[in-house]
Symmetry: C2
Subunit: 90 residues, 2 copies
């Protein structure tokens, strides 16, 4: 029971974590400090976890990592949209 | 076998993902675009996964999430050190 609650808490926090970052980038229209490599690596990682879940037919793994994949894909998208290299102002 | 390889790939990429972000912040000395809430949420999440692993006596879960906890704690640290609110230049 306590194990399950701990696992559910862990799943929720790791899955939703990227959302405040997506929100911040959209609000500030700035993503320069963000590492594309971090979110590319997370995409590969949670994508692989999703495949692992499918192979094991494990729905909690598929659901949490599938959602994470979508959220991280959104993050990569806003990073690419709002990332402008620093340039001297004219 | 293929399942195990997929799980190992997933573990490696999700665990190391934050390192390029830590490196980028240290290199550029800039962390303003980064959401503290994202990494606080990840800390709670992977911390909970570590507790879950301890409760289940599951070493791969303890190891990968314990490492993630350390890496994310480093990220929170550099975020706090290098995050300066935007101020008009004097």
């Amino acid at each position: 029971m306590f194990e399950n609650l701990t696992g559910i808490t862990a799943s929720i926090f790791t899955t939703i974590a990227v959302l405040p970052q997506v929100y911040k980038v959209i609000k500030t229209k700035s993503a320069e400090d963000i590492s594309l490599w971090m979110f590319a690596s997370l995409l590969i990682g949670v994508g692989s976890w999703t495949v692992y879940g499918i192979l094991k037919n494990d729905w909690p793994i598929i659901l949490t990592n599938g959602l994470s994949f979508l959220f991280n894909a959104a993050m990569v998208y806003v990073k690419l949209v709002y990332s402008n290299p620093k340039q001297p102002k004219p």
